[in-house]
């Protein structure tokens, strides 16, 4: 049994009335207040003992600094404590369930970390001669083969750094392919309402005009409306599958065929690939380009825990336009790094480079470790368990929270609720803040925009039934409190290091840069 707190034990709390006394430090027992690092140290001190620099004529000329740069001088223990204290105020997947929808916050297996730290992967440099890093290039190449195989595509660009960067890579491939065909005049990209918010931004950034395609009442793309808009000015569509309503776009093949017939390309946002990995190959559905978030589906850490990585799989039509560099395995086992100097006649249509180097080596190693340790059957089970968990959340909570698409059938990897049914004065934000008091990171809120006051819950396959039951109990009880008009919910969170923050003020008058306090300035 792995039930959490099965006995229901709770510590005996002192419930005596009256506010807890303020402490002189501002700390609350072991919950420590922490100032900014600039406010802890002073520029007068130094934490390290550097040898005197030899005196000599400076060759920096006008580039020499005229005044100190004002870095605080902290000792090693002061620095370590600062960051450890901050980390204790954070919430992480290693602490508990992280239901952030469309983010796939799953457990990062420690085996991945062990592999990524092998010196042959961790202690190398991208400019090393390729003969000295054949093992690392082999990892990139093998991961590329797996990604192509899992998606049923033709090629893959490994270098994009994360999802939106991958989207840009895919759209630039489409742009290059259109220009190669002499059809650079196709300037419209169609984006359904149920797509990720980054999709229209990507298309606009690449110089296209974005047009919305409405969603149907059941939360999927309006296929007829999309077909009706196709024409000689349409470059392609960007579609998210499974979409942000947590539903599988059943018509994707029909849509792809129609788009291809009209001369356009299909970009699929693969952020939600976790729901279908090992079960559906996007290439079979006519997709021309799709990014894969290694940091979502393939468990490499993200959300403050590490960089993203967004390889883009490409169809036969788009693969020739993919970016440099990429790896190629020769018959003798030697892995070549195909770059500008070596591209030769193999890849003359590449649109160029997205990044300086190969991509996120640490993430490649972690993702390949995850794939190999799960195997093809294990990956299919990942998708199955993720979908099962989301449906469990949907069905257990649809009686308490409005689930607008529950009648559309099963959901995929995420369950979507709305604020319909909450009494006047209570909002999705109150529910999210209430969850913080219950010890959970809130779900994604107010997205997707097609649902009013949206709450998007993605439990992933990581969670046990016991963990899900605890979360469902917490979210359900908060919804009941809102329905009962419990005013204390409006002031939540009550137990977090900070109470409810003024999000409006933060957006209207953001303070983004630390400025030296007047006292420190006077000391100069």
């Amino acid at each position: 049994m792995n039930a959490i707190n099965q006995s229901g034990w709770k510590p005996e709390m002192n419930t005596a009335e009256g506010a807890a006394p303020a402490t002189s430090t501002g700390n609350r027992a072991l919950m420590l207040e922490e100032a900014l690092i600039f406010e802890i140290g002073t520029t007068e001190t130094t934490g390290v003992d550097l040898p005197e620099t030899p005196k000599g004529a400076s060759r920096l000329g006008s580039l020499a600094r005229a005044k100190p740069i004002g870095l605080p001088g902290l000792s090693e223990p002061e620095t370590v404590r600062h960051y450890t204290r901050l980390s204790r105020q954070n919430y992480a997947i290693d602490l508990g369930l992280f239901p952030l929808g469309s983010c796939t916050m799953k457990h990062n297996p420690r085996l991945n970390e062990r592999m990524a730290r092998l010196p042959g992967f961790a202690d190398i440099h991208p400019l090393q001669p390729v003969d000295t890093v054949q093992g690392a290039l082999g990892v990139i190449n093998e991961l590329a083969v797996w990604l192509i195989e899992l998606t049923g595509m033709h090629g893959v660009a490994m270098s994009p750094k994360a999802g939106a960067h991958g989207e840009l890579c895919g759209i630039l491939c489409i742009k290059a392919a259109l220009e190669a065909r002499g059809e650079g005049h196709r300037k419209v990209v169609l984006v359904p309402e149920s797509a990720h918010g980054t999709n229209p931004a990507t298309a606009a950034f690449a110089g296209f005009t974005v047009e919305n395609i409405p969603a149907t009442a059941e939360g999927r793309v309006d296929t007829e409306a999309l077909k009706a808009r196709l024409g000689p000015d349409v470059a392609g569509v960007m579609i998210t599958n499974p979409n942000t309503c947590g539903l599988f776009e059943r018509d994707l093949k029909i849509i792809s065929d129609a788009v291809h017939e009209a001369g356009g390309y299909v970009y699929c946002d693969g952020a939600n690939f976790n729901a279908i990995v090992g079960r559906v190959r996007p290439g079979d559905l006519g997709v021309d380009a799709m990014h894969i978030n290694l940091h979502k589906t393939f468990s490499t850490p993200h959300g403050g825990g590490g960089p993203g990585s967004g390889p883009v799989v490409l169809s036969e039509a788009l693969a020739p336009f993919g970016p440099l560099p990429f790896t190629a395995r020769h018959a003798d086992g030697h892995i070549q790094l195909v770059e500008e100097e070596t591209v030769g006649e193999d890849h003359p249509h590449s649109f160029g480079r997205m990044t300086a180097f190969h991509g996120q080596m640490g993430m490649f190693t972690r993702a390949l470790t995850y794939i190999l340790s799960h195997g093809a059957d294990g990956l299919a089970q990942v998708a199955g368990d993720a979908v099962l968990n989301a449906n469990y959340v949907l069905r257990r909570l649809e009686g308490v929270l409005d689930a607008p698409f529950a009648k559309s059938g099963h959901c995929m990897h995420e369950a979507l609720f709305s604020d319909d049914g909450l009494p006047a004065g209570f909002s999705t934000l109150d529910i999210a803040k209430g969850l913080i008091d219950e010890g959970f990171h809130p779900m994604t809120v107010y997205f997707p925009l097609v649902v009013h006051g949206a709450m998007l819950v993605e439990p992933t396959e990581t969670e046990s039934k016991a963990a899900l039951d605890q979360f469902i109990g917490a979210l359900g009880s908060i919804a009941e409190r809102a329905k009962a008009g419990d005013a204390s919910l409006k002031a939540a969170p009550h137990y977090a290091p900070r109470r409810r923050l003024d999000e409006t003020l933060a957006a209207r008058k953001p303070v983004l840069v630390w400025k030296e306090a007047p006292l420190a300035a006077a000391a100069e």
Partner: protein, 123 residues
């Protein structure tokens, strides 16, 4: 001066061939606290149904569409400094932009206040 409404929750005050455009009280209520507004520059040509301004709240970013075709004569500079005017006074000092109408015939398809009230009630 006549006030018309669109089903995108914009209002438009027409005086001769000039018009003032803003979003309705219902729209600001749906958006929540407005944190940023981008209004069109003077001289910009906008077409009916096309993007004319951008409004961002803590919940969402939305386009504001031009209810009619025309040339922008003025954007409300006050909104840049104080976007909360859209929340506090959406149908008056929280106006977005003024324009010169290209085709007064386009006004025919718009709602009057009573029709807009019914439209909102039906949502």
């Amino acid at each position: 001066m006549t006030r018309y409404f669109t089903n995108e929750h914009e209002w438009i005050d027409v005086d001769g061939d000039t018009a003032t455009v803003g979003i309705t009280d219902y729209a600001q209520g749906q958006l929540g606290d407005i944190v940023f507004v981008e209004v069109p520059e003077e001289g910009r040509e906008v077409s009916k149904g096309g993007e004319a301004a951008v409004v961002e709240s803590v919940k969402a970013a939305s386009d504001v569409y031009a209810p009619v075709t025309g040339t922008v004569t003025e954007g409300n500079a006050a909104l840049t400094d104080d976007p909360s005017l859209v929340n506090s006074d959406p149908e008056n000092s929280g106006w977005f932009f003024k324009l010169t109408l290209a085709d007064k015939g386009e006004l025919d398809g718009l709602m009057d206040e009573a029709a807009y009230k019914d439209f909102v009630a039906s949502l």
